[in-house]
């Protein structure tokens, strides 16, 4: 085994209750499972009892990086694994910024955070020591951005450190609270922010300081150059030019742009909030995660006059991407660009997942429209396009001034259970969907996935391919197999750990060569096999926690609104979920 793996195998364990930390050599895990999601899911298996309460002391937060982290282009992501407070199952979330290289060069391959602190705490992780800083003064500082600004002043490692923290939403245990990384990057989905909050963990600062020698300098530099050139080329063009916001018009044109709570696939204001319109009018800066030449992070300027004084102005910045545009824009009928950016800023400051927040507000808007709830619940006038009231509602989700908002803070599934409107409560396995009304494969993939990101398996692109080629839909079984096959390969990429925007750059051979230059020997076939193993290890964990796809609620709305592939058949969907259960059951049994 490569010496490189030895440098990666140090796992930092932190016990928040006893304020202790220690390091264990886990070459047993990093040798077999590479790193990233491969290792993180094994650590989860050891750490988190299957019946653990996601917001109780038994839940454990696991961060992991991999062999390519910080040394190859686009190897910029950290994997977080935890039990999700939204659905109670094993969940996964990825974020970039400087988090991955900071963990790696602080000397760790993974960080395991156990227990609950009795008072607010900020972890400062440096090479060879961890400090438990009292964070009482930061608790209640509502904006996650401000918390970052304060921590920048009082912690070491400027320029290379990573700062993870929660906002008001995480403190208040909103089930879809996010964790902000640096500025404008997030562990967005699945509620990691609420898990932080439940542990009284306000922030983690990771300051790197270690270096490792490359085993074969020449080989490494040659393959690095090859990958660097590819990463700068056409394979990542979509991400650096318009960014993911390019999708707005593409999806609108084929009727796959979720609009007003998924009641339509076309939005009459798409042109005003498209990637093109944003570049033209508000794009102010583009930045990159560490170790990435792509720079996909698009920052918009919000230039705003003070409400109470004319000619007094301020300019703030906010990142944008396709998903928040869908969730807080098209899906809420918001076409006012300024209003849309203010909504982005609201979820950013409060520390909420943009997708879940948008989907929940869309349900609330429709529920109000249909009279299931009244303004005495919503307190503000939720109406399509009325962004000011949505900004106010976002604050209410965090502050929870009444019973209604307390329930909204638990997710759309809980809200619909309580107030009705399940037919149009958009969630799959209790998690609000990403924004692709492309066809059945996408939603099936969400139902059986771990991150509830469109990138789990890229099934929106399978749908789009079927649409553009004019082929017949695959059988439900084939559909599930296609999803699993793609998602299994992605387990390799996320064990290394690569950003999934790099998937077009790192094919099997290049991935194998990159690992080879660090002293690992994996053929393409070995990697494929490992990807499948990791995939089914994860599915087994969820199965043991009680997940059965065939028990899932399928929102009726999704069978009523036409997609480019026509209306989604409920029978097809149910059949696919049944097939999925059979595949997982068989796999668990064989093993």
């Amino acid at each position: 085994m490569s010496d490189w793996v030895k440098t990666l195998s140090r796992v930092l364990y932190v016990d928040l209750a006893r304020k202790r930390y220690w390091v264990e050599d886990r070459e047993d895990l990093f040798g077999k499972w590479l790193g990233g999601i491969g290792v993180a899911s094994q650590l989860y298996k050891e750490e988190v009892p299957r019946a653990a309460d996601p917001l109780g002391p038994e839940n454990t937060i696991i961060f992991a990086v991999g062999p390519l982290t910080g040394v190859f282009p686009m190897a910029s992501k950290t994997i977080a694994v935890f039990k999700s407070p939204l659905n109670g199952y094993f969940a996964e979330s990825h974020a970039g910024g400087r988090s991955a290289s900071a963990i790696r060069f602080a000397g760790y391959g993974a960080i395991v955070i156990r227990g609950v602190s009795e008072r607010p705490i900020c972890l400062v992780i440096e090479p060879d020591r961890v400090r438990f800083r009292d964070a009482s003064a930061l608790w209640g500082v509502r904006s996650a951005e401000t918390v970052g600004r304060i921590l920048r002043e009082i912690t070491p490692g400027a320029g290379v450190r990573s700062i993870l923290r929660i906002g008001g939403a995480g403190e208040k245990l909103v089930r879809y609270a996010m964790v902000m990384v640096e500025t404008f990057r997030h562990f967005g989905r699945m509620g990691l922010g609420a898990v932080f909050g439940s542990k009284k963990l306000k922030a983690i600062v990771i300051a790197p300081g270690k270096v490792y020698r490359f085993p074969d300098m020449k080989r490494y530099r040659d393959i690095y150059q090859k990958i660097y050139d590819l990463a700068k080329g056409p394979k990542t063009k979509k991400y650096h030019d318009l960014g993911t916001a390019e999708n707005v018009l593409v999806l609108d044109a084929i009727g796959a742009l979720p609009t007003k709570n998924f009641s339509s696939g076309r939005f009459d204001g798409a042109g005003e909030i498209s990637g093109e319109a944003l570049v033209e009018n508000v794009l102010a800066r583009r930045v990159a995660c560490s170790a990435c030449p792509v720079a996909c992070i698009h920052l918009a300027a919000i230039r705003e006059e003070y409400e109470d004084e004319k000619f007094m102005y301020k300019t703030e910045f906010i990142s944008y991407d396709y998903e928040p545009i869908y969730a807080l824009g098209t899906n809420l009928g918001v076409k006012d660009r300024f209003g849309l950016l203010k909504l982005f800023k609201a979820v950013e400051d409060w520390g909420l997942d943009a997708i879940s927040t948008g989907v929940i507000l869309a349900w609330a808007t429709e529920a109000l429209e249909r009279g299931l709830i009244t303004k005495s619940e919503t307190l503000v006038d939720l109406r399509w396009g009325n962004w000011r009231s949505y900004v106010a509602a976002i604050e209410n989700i965090v502050r929870q001034p009444n019973e209604f908002y307390k329930v909204l803070a638990m997710g759309v599934e809980e809200a619909a259970k309580r107030y009705g409107g399940e037919d149009f409560a958009m969630s799959f396995n209790k998690v609000e969907p990403a924004g692709y009304l492309t066809g059945p494969l996408f939603f099936i993939s969400l139902a059986i996935g771990f991150r509830h990101s469109h990138l789990d398996s890229g099934a929106y692109s399978l749908d789009q391919r079927i649409f553009s080629s004019g082929e017949e839909l695959p059988s439900p079984r084939e559909a599930v197999q296609k999803i699993i096959e793609e998602e299994a390969w992605r387990q390799v990429l996320t064990s290394l750990v690569l950003c999934l925007f790099a998937r077009g750059v790192y094919d099997e051979n290049l991935t194998s060569e990159a690992l080879g230059s660090l002293g690992y020997s994996y053929s393409s076939a070995d990697l494929r096999k490992l990807g499948r193993e990791i995939y089914f290890e994860k599915q087994r964990l969820k199965w043991e926690e009680g997940f059965r796809a065939s028990n899932l609620r399928i929102p009726k709305r999704i069978t009523e609104t036409p997609t480019p592939l026509g209306k989604i058949s409920k029978e097809y969907f149910e059949e696919a979920l049944k097939e999925f259960d059979n595949i997982v059951k068989k796999h668990n049994h064989v093993k």
Binding site: G70, V71, S101, R104, F105, G148, R149, R152, A158, G159, V160, E182, T183, F184, P208, G209, K210, V211, Y212, R213, F214, M217, Y220, R221, Y224, Y228, K232, R285, V287, S290, A291, P293, A295, I297, L299, E316, F317
Partner: protein, 117 residues
Amino acid sequence: MLACSRRLGFAGYEKSAIRVRSAGGVERGFTVVVCRACLDPPCARVCPEDALIPRPGGGIILRPERCNGCGHCVEACDIGAIWMDEETGKPIVCVYCGYCAQFCPHKVITLQEVEAV
């Protein structure tokens, strides 16, 4: 930063002769700190062991065998482009090889040829 480390055969930041930091949050942009190759370098003037030799055309050359690790050069550099290597106890200084410039996608860092005077 990573390219500079890579040139020396290391993964990580500590051996790099370049530092990049945000100018107070990423929305304000970044500052790249690297030796600007002064024509009359103050770091060389304060070196008690003549370990930093002014280089024809600007900048300095480190003679590590003469360095006693005092760190005066770090303090003398107003732009903060010299760091101590904690492992060796000696300063890390730019050697003007231009390797980093090959990996700067937006030509913030470029290699400029100057005449040795």
